[in-house]
Symmetry: C2
Subunit: 294 residues, 2 copies
DNA sequence: CGGGTCTTTGATTAGGTTCAATAAGAGTGG
DNA sequence: CCACTCTTATTGAACCTAATCAAAGACCCG
């Protein structure tokens, strides 16, 4: 029962795929073909420094295609591989005890997911394709073995995991402190940035997810998301038509915050410069913030 | 300026500490002594299977003590070491552009922190001692080197990082979907569980953090936290007196949820059992949830 | 004992949810 | 190809949770 769907899906890239040699051409992506990537391509996709490997083409990583709506892995399913998005859009979700979905992320090109399975050896979340996707499989065993022979790769993977953690932290921070408008604004900006990175237009793009999914991701209801988008539209910050978004005033979106749950905290901290446990807090921070890539 | 505080602090455990041999007795913790742990002790603290090492006592990990209120690392400071809590309580925080603190976690015995520094090579958060603390230093270089020689350790560390990620996910989920009461209830339960793990009473304990810090952590104001605790007190779920908390009805706390932002979503999904993209969702899930450690 | 911090409690407000109804697409089948 | 249905999106109105503002009491440390 559990593996039913997976085997169905995997059957799209049957064992015979092994015979398909990976042409080492850049981005050698075939429409519906089973494809393999070498280590360099893997690093490229992950946006990490390429690993200088001797036998590049001996190490090949299998690709798998998923169609819109298909599930890549489900909660509780035994973990054995990490996934890297080569193309397409997905969502990862948590399901609570009442069947409510909580969207955790929208993985897209260059993102790694499945990491949450390492700890318990079962995936802690569920991943679903929001569009047709091409994913690179990275069997965990293979990966750890690789780390031992390719030191830079090992470090790079730690780095990617760390990046995920930082992203989650930013998410927590956003949910904990920002107003609905600020959340939606930031969401749009981050999407815009991602699209730019991927070589698409940062000014005009289509949302791959529903208002409901956005709302879940941002800790809002779909109505609030819709209303907020409409409001941004009226003010002229963006143009909205269903899934199509046009970014009109990126700067305004970036700086939009509206004194939310925290205007008081700021004052408290400001007036706290007096002697206190961590008394050098303020001064140090001033110096640090210039160095820090916040 | 930047390293000023660190060097002050580090000076508490000077180079001469090297001469202090780590007695391999369990929990060989001295009040104010500089201490070293071997690999086995490290694994014990982290709650991961002990690594069968040949030369256990050659690899020693330095401890450092921090006093209440001291900062372990700050945002933007160059990253080079991970920290493991041997004893004591801390908080990690993000500081936004207005100086507002956002509490991310309350590390305590067995927790690892500093991981967010790997990616950018600078700490992305700030860690502050909420009580006197004894921390084990785990220089990142040393750690990665170790991973190559001790395979189980490597896996264990991936596991710990994965655990952190899962924790953050749970946090996001909580912030995104639960009511104030449910958040506070869960917070108390998780604290209670942690205290139990550490061998303290799960029924009666002292909070190490202020209402303000709890509120920041849970995405609430300090007033709401205070009111909610008072309410729980009135209902008889807990007893509260300032920092002292008595857990009276753990079960009620665990199951407390009060139909929050999501009572509608549940219905939507329930009635969605019809044919849909991921159509086997519901049935599979039922089977999965028995297996899954949700 | 006094200044500061932390906590509690009350009154009021506002942002966001909930409920509800309509409209706009997208996919399906006659 | 169009009607029919299902999903998704928009918008309005009422309600409610939690934030905000305010003030007083408790605790801690010097």
């Amino acid at each position: 029962m559990l593996s039913t769907q997976m085997s169905e899906i995997r059957s799209e890239s049957p064992a015979t795929a092994t015979s398909v040699a990976a042409s080492s051409m850049e981005a050698g992506w075939q429409r519906q073909g089973k494809l393999w990537s070498n280590l360099k391509e893997l690093c490229d996709v992950l946006r990490i420094p390429a690993v200088s490997s001797l036998a590049d083409d001996e190490l090949l990583f299998q690709h798998v295609q998923f169609k819109t709506g298909q599930r890549i892995h489900t909660i509780g399913q035994p973990f054995d591989t990490l996934y890297i998005v080569h193309s397409g859009f997905l969502k990862t979700v948590l399901i609570d005890e009442f069947g409510n979905e909580q969207v955790l992320s929208f993985p897209m090109k260059g993102d790694l997911f499945g990491v949450d399975g390492i700890h318990t050896r079962r995936y802690a979340s569920e991943a679903v394709a929001l569009s047709n996707c091409d994913l690179i499989l990275l069997p965990f065993k293979k990966f750890t073995a690789l780390g031992r022979t390719h030191v830079e790769l090992e470090h790079a993977m730690y780095s990617v995991m760390s990046r995920e953690l930082v992203r989650e932290q930013a998410m927590v921070s956003m949910l904990g402190a920002l107003s609905a408008e600020a959340r939606v604004a930031r969401f749009l900006v981050s999407l815009s940035d991602r699209f730019a990175e991927m070589g698409y237009s940062s000014k005009l793009f289509n949302l791959r997810m529903t208002r409901h999914e956005i709302g879940s991701y941002l800790g809002l209801t779909l109505e609030t998301v819709s209303r907020t988008l409409s409001a941004f539209n009226e003010i002229g910050l963006i143009s909205v038509d269903q899934r199509s978004i046009g970014i009109k005033d990126p700067e305004a979106l970036k700086t939009l915050r509206r004194l939310p749950p925290s205007s008081s905290r700021a004052k408290q901290i400001a007036s706290k410069k007096s002697k206190q446990l961590a008394r050098k807090t303020a001064e140090d921070r001033a110096a640090l913030e210039q160095l820090a890539a916040v």
